[in-house]
Structures are given as C-alpha cells and as structure tokens.
C-alpha cells in the first residue's frame, strides 16, 4: 500500500497534475457557486477537455472540479441563501444567518476548514477501505454485479425521487433504453439505429450528460424565468468580514468534525445516498449532540450547524468513490459521470483497477487530498473575488453554458447530427425536469446499461437461461431482497400517502 501511495503522490504531484487540480478546484468553485449548476454540470463541461489528457490527468482534473463545485455550492448557500447543489442546502440553515450578522467571512472559513477536515479524514478512510474492498470484491460474480447494479439504480431512484419513486424508475428505464441504442457489443447486430450510421456506435455519453444537465439546466433557468444571480446583486461581495476563528469556535468544530466525518463517509459509500442525505443527517445528529444552550443557536448562525453538514458532505464525496473505484459501480449521479469518463479513457474501474492501473487508482485518491489543500489555501482567501461571479448576468451566463455544451459535443464527433440530438434530448429533459422527473437516475442507468446487459448475459448463459442465478448464492439473495424491499416500500409509500 505504501508503494501505491508513493506512486499516487508522484503522479499527483507532477507539475501538470498539480496545475490540473488547481484549475479544477478553481473552475469547479465558480461553476458550483452558480445556483442550479452543480458538480455534475461542472464535470460534464470538463469531459471534452479531459479527452486531450492521459487518464490520470483527466481524472485528477475532474476530481478537482468535483470538490471545487461542492465548495462553491457552500459559498452561494452562505452568501445568498441559494445553494448551488442540494448537498449544501443544510449549510444555508446556519451559514446564511451568520452571513446576515456581518460574519460571512467567518461562516465561509468554518465551511472551508470543516470541508478540509472532513475530506482529510475521509481520504484516510478511503485509503484503508478501498484496497480492502477491492480484494473482497474479487470474489463477486456476474449475478452479484448484476444485482448490485440494480440495487444502485433503485437506491438512487429512491433517494433522488422526492417521493416520486415511479417517476425516477421511469427515468432509469429511459436511461437504459438510450444505452441500448447502437450495435450489440457481442454480436454487432444494430439495435434501434433505424439505418442511421450516426447511431451505429450508440449515443455518446458526453452528449447525454451535456444535454440532461448543462444544456437542460440552462434552458430550465430561462424557461422558469429564474435569475440565479439576482440575490447576489443585493449584497456586498467585497465586504465579507474576517475569516479568523476564535478559540471557542475552533473548540466547537473539533468535537463536531470527527463524528460528522464518520457519518458522512459511511453514507457516501452507500449507493444512492450521497452528500445531500449525509449533510442533513449530520445536521440533525449534531443538533441532538449539543447542549440545550447551543441547540437554541441552531438556525440562527450556529458554528456546529455549519461545521456538521459541511464536514459530512465532503466526507460523503470521498465515500462515494469507494464503490466506483473498487466495484466499478457508481453510487451517485456524479460518480456515474466519472465512470462514463473513465470508460471513455478505456479504463474499466473495478477490483482489478487497483492491480492493473495502480497509478490511476492512487493518484485519484492522492489528488483528492491535494484538492482539499488547494481549496483551503487558494480558494478561501480568494472568495471575495471569486464570489463576484455570482453577479454575472444570466444574459451572458446562459449563452456561455450553451456554448460550452454545444462545443463539447461538436468536438467529440465534428458532425451536426449530434448537435440536433443533444438539442432534442435537452428539450425533453427540460420538460421532464419541470414535472420533477429526476435526471441523476437516467445518467446512472445510461452509464451502467452496457455493464448491466453484459453481466445479465453472463449470468443467464452460465445458468442456461434459468433465472435461478438470482437466488443461487447467499450474497445475491441478500442483494435481491434489498432491492425488493426498496421497490416495495417506495411503491407502498406512493400508494398510501394520499390515503392517509
């Protein structure tokens, strides 16, 4: 393991990769700060650029963007009460009231230190957990992988559906349907191509991500006549107050950070849960842990109230890399985008990645930590300046997002068929978003579609067409029972909620 860490450090600390971490953190912070544009959009916009790099550098850039976007989301939560990402909603409960008391700098510093500490602790957990889980997952077979993928999809659907599980499941099926377009991997038989050569290779992953996130988010902002930068114009972004913390505040953070880190990491590892749930749970848990006097301060600018969700959401980000790197199965929309990018580089994440491409495995883990340091020492002092991006008028912002999306897809294929298809998917996604049909399950399903079919194919061929593979092994039974429980519970909830 030590050797791996050294390889990772060597790769991550090369001048080029250090630059990528910095650029990633910086651009991620800017994009993540804009309300409505989260880490998925930020990473999606970066994918076409990363294809010019080697896999390690590309992944390091994306990891930097991911952390930067989460940090940027906290900034807009605190400054204008408009969380850039759902994972930072809980931060706004106490961050915004503190900012209103003229202590925005302090709130941002608490968020940054907590993120750093949460990220550091969870990076250590990741260092320990990832190789061990890689070894365990070597014993997994095709039916287990097939089951795990369905589990991941149903869990993401359950958590991202806001009570509309069936809508999320429809999006899962739609994602899998989109993934089935193109030649069959084994027999090369064309499927759903309608004799169109442009569809024979299938629909590009970048196209789907750009259409459903970047482009559709931009169209949604215009369609709903939202102005995400409106609130920023009402505050002074240059006078944020001191970023220094006193002894009492530091003491409070010292007790909050370890427990929120553990909670955040565990939640992050679970498929579907992710940073949003981790931050809300940590906020709730912290409120129960503190004394009555401190409890009264919650919602009015409590230090613990900012530190807990910020620590947890960053810890969850690291945690979400565990299933991606060790099993090759992303547990969230964001890691699904990263998986798509990895597959684009020709790398199949999974238990063997640890052995076949140790430099990628370890450099990504190491760069996460370096990203935390960059966020703390570079982004925090620069926040008053970076925050000015919040005041960018949407009249410029939206066309520029559309520009990056269109260019990104054009650079992949150099034809206009992909542009039309992206516009079509984006328009449909905009309408679906309007009626709360979630997009993360669609992306996750699109990325997992090929792998899922492959594992189902192997399972069915091994069992000679019998579905008994689903209950042949204890591990598969446990996975299947969990899926049945999630699906059953969610449908039951949908049916009975109205009657109650």
């Amino acid at each position: 393991m030590i050797e791996g860490i050294l390889i990772g450090l060597q790769t991550a600390l090369s001048f080029k990769n250090l630059m990528m971490v910095m650029i990633g953190c910086f651009s991620g912070t800017i994009i993540g700060m804009l309300p409505g544009l989260g880490p998925m959009t930020a990473i999606a916009l970066m994918i076409p650029i990363t294809y010019g790099f080697d896999p390690s550098t590309g992944l390091i850039l994306m990891a930097g963007v991911y952390y930067g976007a989460v940090f940027g989301g906290s900034t807009s939560s605190i400054l204008i009460n408009a969380p850039g990402v759902p994972g930072t909603v809980a931060t706004s409960f106490d961050g915004y009231p503190m900012a209103q008391q003229g202590k925005a700098g302090k709130a941002l510093a608490i968020a940054a230190y907590s993120s750093f500490a949460g990220g550091t602790i969870s990076a250590i957990f990741l260092l320990i957990a990832a190789p061990s889980l890689s070894l365990v997952s070597l014993s997994f077979r095709s039916p287990d992988y097939f089951g795990l993928m369905i589990l991941g999809l149903t869990a993401v659907a359950a958590f991202s559906s806001k009570g509309n599980f069936l809508k999320a499941m429809m999006m899962v099926v739609l994602g899998l349907m989109l993934a089935s377009v193109g030649q069959d991997t084994l027999s090369d038989i064309p499927r759903f191509t309608f004799d169109n050569m442009n569809l024979s290779d299938g629909i590009s992953f970048v196209l789907v991500v750009m259409a459903t996130f970047a482009m559709s988010e931009a169209l949604t902002i215009i369609f709903k006549a939202n102005d995400p930068t409106k609130a920023a114009k009402q505050i002074s972004l240059s006078q944020l107050g001191s970023i220094k913390l006193d002894k009492d505040e530091t003491k409070k953070m010292v007790t909050t950070i370890p427990r929120s880190s553990v909670l955040g990491f565990i939640i992050g590892v679970l498929p579907g849960a992710g940073a949003t749930i981790a931050s809300f749970l940590a906020y709730g848990m912290e409120r129960n842990f503190v004394n009555d006097e401190e409890k009264q301060k919650f919602g009015k600018g409590s230090v613990n109230g900012i530190a807990a969700p910020e620590t947890a959401n960053n810890a969850a980000c690291s945690g979400s890399f565990v299933p991606l790197l060790t099993l090759g199965i992303p547990g969230s929309g964001t890691t699904a985008v990263m998986l798509g990018a990895l597959l684009g580089f020709g790398i199949q994440p999974g238990p063997r990645l640890y052995q076949t491409n140790p430099e990628i495995f370890w450099s990504v883990i190491m760069s996460m930590y370096i990203g935390m340091v960059v966020l703390l020492i570079l982004n925090l002092p620069l926040i008053p300046y970076i925050a000015r991006v919040l005041a960018t008028p949407r009249t410029f912002l939206i066309p520029l997002i559309l520009f990056f999306s269109l260019t990104g897809v054009y650079l992949m294929s150099f034809n206009n068929f992909d542009i039309y298809m992206m516009i079509g998917i984006a328009v449909v996604a905009t309408v679906l978003r309007l009626y709360d049909f979630p997009m993360p399950p669609l992306i996750l399903a699109f990325v997992l579609g090929g792998l899922m079919e492959e594992n189902l194919r192997r399972s069915l061929l091994i069992s000679d067409g019998s579905w008994s593979f689903m209950w042949d092994r204890p591990l598969t039974i446990v996975i299947m029972l969990t899926i049945i429980f999630i699906v059953g519970w969610q449908i039951y909830k949908s049916f009975f909620k109205k009657k109650l």
């Binding site: 650029i49 010019g52 806001k162 009570g163 509309n164 069936l166 809508k167 499941m169 429809m170 099926v173 739609l174 899998l176 349907m177 089935s180 084994l186 027999s187 038989i189 499927r191 759903f192 169209l219 215009i222 369609f223 709903k224 006549a225 008028p393 949407r394 009249t395 410029f396 939206i398 066309p399 520009f403 269109l406 260019t407 054009y410 650079l411 150099f414 034809n415 206009n416 542009i419 039309y420 516009i423 328009v427 309408v431 679906l432 009626y435 709360d436 049909f437 899922m452 189902l456 194919r457 069915l460 061929l461 069992s463 000679d464 067409g465 449908i491 949908s494 049916f495 909620k497 109205k498």
Partner: protein, 156 residues
C-alpha cells in the same frame, strides 16, 4: 376527465415503451442465436416491459406528490428562441465554420435574452471564440475545420 401533466408524460412514456418493445422484437438476430438464453434482443425486451410496468403503475396509482407548475409564468418566447438558435447553429456550423457560426450564435443568444451592453456582447463573442479556438489548437491540438477562416487565409 382531467389528467395531470405528470400522468400525461407517463402515458407518453407508456406508448414510447410499447413502441420500443415492438422495435425490440423486430431486431434481427442470427439464426443460431434465435433460441439462445440471451441474444441481442433479450435485454431490450426486458426494458420495454419494465417501461410499460412502471409507467402503467404511475398512471393507475394515485399521485402522492403531484407537481404543480404555473404554466403562465413560463418564458416560452426566450426558450423557444434559444432552441431555434441552437438548431440554426447546427445547420450553419459545417458550412460557415466554427468561428463565424459560434460567434454569431453567442451574439444572437445575448440579444434574445435581453442583453444590450454592446461592448460586452462583442468581447464575449468574436474575440472570446477566437481565444477559445486558439486554446483548442495551441494547447489541446484539436483541429477545427473552418471554411471561413480558411477562405480569408487565417487557417490552413
């Protein structure tokens, strides 16, 4: 009878799944693969059925959290304007080249969205695209075919 928009979307998805399933059955597989436990159309057939089941369930079951959208506040004009502009961009990019079509697309989008600061409109279109193209060529070695720039002798 009034049907909610979400149920209407589910109904459309039901029809779409039906069509997908029909198309899945039409996939031509090799003769020796026809009765195999798994062939090129097996997975799509399952997906078609899954789509039918989930959308049917949504249509039949009562809605737990109906989504209410006030259609009157939606900005159709600007959204449709941008979509048309993107389609036009797709139509012109191969003929006029990346530089000209992208710059004009940006200018038109700023104007459609109501921007009237002409200096910024200019800076964030033609020079911005030129710098971006230079970065693509210089840093990432990505060649962008551009008949217009070739015609005026800037690009080879």
């Amino acid at each position: 009878m009034k049907i909610s928009p979400s149920k209407l979307i589910s109904l459309l998805f039901f029809v779409f799944s039906g069509y997908y399933l029909y198309t899945a059955y039409q996939i031509q597989v090799f003769a020796f693969d026809e009765n195999a436990p798994f062939n090129a159309k097996t997975f799509p057939i399952y997906l078609g059925f899954a789509g039918l089941v989930f959308s049917a369930l949504y249509i039949i079951l009562p809605e737990a959290n109906p989504t209410n959208v006030d259609l009157k506040v939606l900005d159709y004009k600007k959204t449709i304007g941008l979509v048309i502009l993107m389609i036009l961009y797709g139509l012109t990019i191969l003929r006029a080249g990346y530089f000209l079509s992208t710059s004009i697309f940006l200018v038109a989008s700023y104007i459609i969205l109501g921007e009237r600061k002409w200096i910024w409109i200019f800076i964030l279109s033609f020079p911005f695209v030129a710098i971006f193209m230079y970065l693509l060529h210089g840093l990432l070695n990505i060649y962008l075919r551009d008949p217009f720039l070739k015609y005026i002798g800037i690009m080879g």
